[in-house]
């Protein structure tokens, strides 16, 4: 090699090193920091549930979460679908309790940060949510009178130490609920108002105990969070925390061209809102219109924030007071799910429509029209490599 060509090679190397652009722009770094678990604020107190942070209530709640005794046939508990060793979900396209439901079980990590519950937000607090499956004929298929009797018989002492004296239930029918079978409804309607309120109060407290337990289910640190922490300090990520070129490309797409971060934002990767993304319905399931049909349900729920069983003042009820009550945007709109841990819990979407993340990305890339209402998603034209990079990045949220 001549001196001249050596010199040339040296110069080229120096120039290339000088021109090597940083992996992330300042704007990208800011977005990445906003997605890190360290950006998650501490759980706010739930003033609507004065037992939310009472350890004895959480302990009773955890017992009840795994207890099958409140279901109609004694076989179904919360944990039947919210499996503790499976991110509190069940890997099924639609949850199966006493019967087969029409929706995918949602995982529970960080659930207490949500303003709305279920895929369509038909409940407005964690404790009101916890009551709903107890009486859903396809989930636990119980009824609130039977639940009250069961609690008194099985957990009476524990209940009273937390919530105070149980009401006299001796004249309460064995089975009664405003939402149950015809016989249960008739039994409920025949109950004096005070008795119905007593049962509702016990029932609400059950929800508050289960919610107190669920508040402890927090999302774990992931490889992405360790990578983000290193990026924020400027130190190179150590060992396994370093991202591959493909994972970096996926992260850049996620917060850039692929627009994922528009809705999947913040440390839980959700805007806590509802969107129609054109996800197709499943043929043999009952009609499902998402958020538009949930508005009336949450307004009618006696356990909602503006109802008689809320603790604290109505200042905590802003989400319900100022919710959007109508409009075409609510048709087939479903909650943006958190993407933490998503890579290891297929199938995806509100009724398990897609079997893999690749199918999800194919859907968003193509952006088909919605069967009803208008999809907010626009076609992306992601290449196979780009889709694979996004999947590689999403996996870092589950490691």
């Amino acid at each position: 090699m001549s001196r001249m060509s050596r010199l040339l090679a040296l110069t080229v190397m120096v120039v290339l090193a000088g021109c090597g652009k940083p992996e992330f722009s300042d704007a990208e770094k800011k977005t990445i920091a906003s997605l890190a678990l360290s950006a998650l604020p501490p759980l706010k107190p739930d003033t609507t549930n004065r037992f939310a942070d009472v350890p004895a209530a959480a302990a009773l709640g955890s017992t009840l979460f795994f207890d099958t005794g409140m279901s109609r046939d004694g076989t179904v508990s919360c944990s039947t679908c919210h499996k503790i060793d499976r991110q509190f979900q069940d890997d099924l396209p639609q949850a199966v309790g006493v019967g087969r439901t029409n929706r995918r079980t949602m995982p529970l990590a960080g659930v207490a940060h949500d303003p709305w519950f279920f895929w369509d937000g038909r409940r407005d607090s964690l404790w009101a949510q916890a009551l709903t499956p107890l009486e859903n004929p396809l989930e636990q298929a119980g009824n609130r009178a039977a639940v009250a009797h069961y609690i008194k018989a099985r957990f009476g002492e524990r209940y009273e130490r937390i919530f105070g004296l149980l009401p006299d239930l001796s004249n309460v029918p064995a089975n009664a609920s405003p939402l149950g079978t015809d016989a249960e409804k008739a039994a409920w309607n025949a109950m004096p108002d005070q008795q119905a309120e007593d049962v509702n109060r016990v029932f609400a407290n059950i929800g508050k105990a289960i919610a107190a337990f669920e508040r402890s289910i927090a999302p774990p640190q992931t490889r992405f969070d360790r990578f983000a922490a290193a990026l924020a300090t400027g130190a190179p990520p150590q060992g396994d925390d370093a991202f591959s070129a493909e994972e970096i490309q996926g992260l850049k797409l996620f917060i850039g061209k692929a627009n994922c971060v528009t809705c999947h934002n913040g440390p839980r990767f959700t805007d806590n809102s509802f969107h129609n993304t054109g996800v197709p319905p499943i043929k043999d399931l009952p009609p499902d219109r998402g958020r538009i049909d949930a508005v009336a349900q949450v307004e009618a729920d006696p356990f909602n924030c503006l109802g008689a069983f809320r603790d604290g003042d109505a200042g905590a009820c802003g989400e319900l007071r100022f919710m959007v009550k109508g409009g075409p945007e609510l048709i087939r709109a479903y909650k943006t799910p958190s993407l933490r841990g998503a890579a290891t819990r297929p199938p995806y979407m509100h009724a398990g429509q897609f079997l893999s993340l690749d199918e999800v990305l194919a859907h968003y890339s193509k952006a088909p029209a919605s069967v009803e209402g208008t999809s907010e998603v626009h076609p992306l034209q992601l290449s196979d490599r780009e889709r694979a990079a996004l999947v590689a990045f999403l996996k870092t949220l589950a490691e």
Partner: protein, 149 residues
């Protein structure tokens, strides 16, 4: 010794050449058009000139994803506070063609032309528009505020 000087000279020459090329590339590159961002001023005259409206977050800062209240202050062009106004609020994100995720409302009159607007929530970063329809003794008018997160 002489060869070292030759190296240095050649290196300097190459560096100068490169600097020249880079300068030409940068100076002749088409400027990306500066996108005129939306007008984010917090104080405006309403569309038909009936009122002067000011719009500020009540706690001074905007926090993405949290319910918050803002204050809308209405004055006449002469500077007198506008009392007893009926206010309705709509809006959304023009670039995403969707509306607001909440239904903000004017919940309280605080005196001196100031109205509390409760129930605002900005669920994503970007350009938000809030449109106020104002009806008072002087007549009806509208004003649009842009908020960029």
């Amino acid at each position: 010794m002489a060869s070292l000087w030759r190296y240095l000279l050649a290196g300097l020459g190459l560096a100068a050449l490169l600097a020249g090329i880079l300068a030409v590339v940068y100076l002749t590159a088409p400027r990306s058009p500066q996108l005129a961002g939306p007008d984010t001023s917090r104080s405006k005259t309403t569309a038909n000139g009936l009122f002067v409206a000011s719009f500020e977050p009540e706690r001074g800062v905007i926090r993405q994803g949290e319910l918050q209240s803002w204050l809308l202050t209405l004055k006449t062009v002469a500077g007198a506070p506008v009392e007893g106004a009926a206010i309705t609020i709509s809006g959304g994100m023009p670039q995403h063609s969707h509306g607001l995720p909440t239904s903000p409302q004017a919940t309280n009159y605080l005196g001196d032309g100031r109205y509390r607007i409760e129930g605002l929530k900005f669920t994503m970063s970007g350009w938000w528009q809030l449109r106020f329809a104002i009806s008072a003794a002087a007549g009806s008018d509208t004003v649009i505020f842009n908020v960029v997160l």
